[in-house]
Amino acid sequence: MDKTTKIIAWVIVAVVIIGGVWYEISRKAEEHTNVLKVGVIIPLTGPVGPTGKDFLNGLMLAKEKINPSVELYIEDSQSNAKDGVTAAKKILDTQDVDMIISLQSAVVIPLLTLADEYNKPLLATAISQNEFTQKSKNAFRFFPSANQEAALAADFANKRGFKKISTITILDEYGVSMKEQFDKKFEGDIVQEENFTAADTDLRTILTKISNSDAIYFIGYIPQYISLFKQLKELGKDNVVISNLITISGSVRAEIGNLTNKIYATVPESALMSEKTKQFRKDYIEKYGEEPDWAAPFGYDTMFILDAVQKNEKKPIEALYNIKINGLNGNISFNGDREAFIPLSIVEIKNGQFVPYQG
């Protein structure tokens, strides 16, 4: 072994030792506490990183506010299954956490196998496929299912008397689940179906092709929503757009500006700007210097759920069935199918502001 190889080997050994010692010190300090330990496996880097960061910001804001005796062990899933599972393994084996919270379906689904293996409840956000909670008794969903969200959009389109709709949806679990449900419930004709991937932000080709339809049903993520509204303006297209909760993101609203298009969205109560939501938004901007996106209210409410679980004397999995909180997303409780019913409404967006749709 030559000199440089030795240096490299020593650097690696040093990192391992320092990491190990650091861990031991922090672990010893925590050994005698009797609090709810929660593994937070969320994407902080990678394509879904901004959403994970927004969720975490909401979570930490609530933690600061209510100061619950809950310990969070935050790990980055790097937006992929392999690293998500590795992070969860580390937390489950070294911290003996009581439950896991996670978001993003590509990570949540493999984590469910681990949750079952360790018999810990998994509270998931940003997973839409209907059958998720049917897969395991440990699967809890704090997010509208595709059935709920897309069905409301289809019902709205039916009531408005739209006969022809074009769908533009992202080609992933979220987009596919939403589109499937919309197709099932919409009574008119889907005249055009277009897809894009998470890496696509130039939607001009797709938008140019759209014609002869009463409205566009659009499902994507924040970058695509920003592109959609920007490019509709550029192309001078005045299509009616039906979208979803991602439209409430601060960065998307800023782009909508003074678009003349009619824009409708299926959103949770957190978008309706109640006094509570206004205060949340104010606190968020004060702390982070930017507008919250759609995931932050879910992160915020998640901390209240954890606080309620901690205060409940039962085991976390039983406590989850019994909690009732009044959060940004309305009155939250889990039903027998482990679904938190999140009341959704249709809003109309005018000058970047959300106005309840009066029908």
Binding site: I8, I12, V15, G20, K82, K90, D93, A106, I109
Partner: protein, 290 residues
Amino acid sequence: MFSAYLIHLLILVGIYLILAISLQLAVGFTGLLNLGHIAFYAIGAYISALLALAGWPWWICLLLAGTGAMLSGFLLALPTNKLKGDYLALATLGFTFVIYAITLNWTSLTRGPLGLPGIPKPSLFGFVFSDNFAFLILTAIITTISYFIIKRIVSSPFGKVLEAIRDDELATRVLGKNTFKMKTYALGISAFFAGIAGSLYAHYITFIDPSSFTLLQLIPVIAIVIIGGLASLRGTVIAAIILVLLPEPLRFIGFPSSVVGPARQIIYALLLLLILIYKPKGFYGKVELE
């Protein structure tokens, strides 16, 4: 206390090792800058998962995963045989995108973005490798067999011809060797082991979707090959262990929640940079990548 976590990491080391030594065969020993390796990994994972979900025995799924990937390797070799260096890299990169698009869009077969959940754990003669330690033993056996097969190949006269092709293809052809055939075999064998690694991954994680097989997943495998040193199996083993395990101690450093994700990745990248600054040819590199 650490056991299950360590076992998990060792399983990942095994899977990455198979992927890296098989890529080493193509890149390091034959000089084929193949960026389609992750596509072979995906093909293996999907074949194995689909067959297992259809009720086929695991060992058949494993072999067919390797065989399917190998056939794809032969197929890829046909149009790319005359390409070298950057051009070959671009063509094989295109193959990765084609396979990604197929897994994403052929929804009736792959369920597209919804992925394939509930892939069963391997079972052999009635014994189910449901326990992670048993899975580690299985991975270790398959990794060891793969390592020795590839080691045997590169030490054989066939392996020497591959190295000759890498160093000077024209001269090798002048000596009467059918370089087209040799390169096709090399790519096929390399793909076979990538398919085996894909099968192991699918049965271990029990869920696959197209996002598991993007270009991003190729980067750590190429990093292992380059840091280990081209044409060095020993270096590849060391690099696989280091690159898979190195990020883990960083998980124990208590960064503030606001920077936890990026900070770890920055430190990890800096450590890799340090290695390459001090060892530009990797740990045991014999040749330089052209």
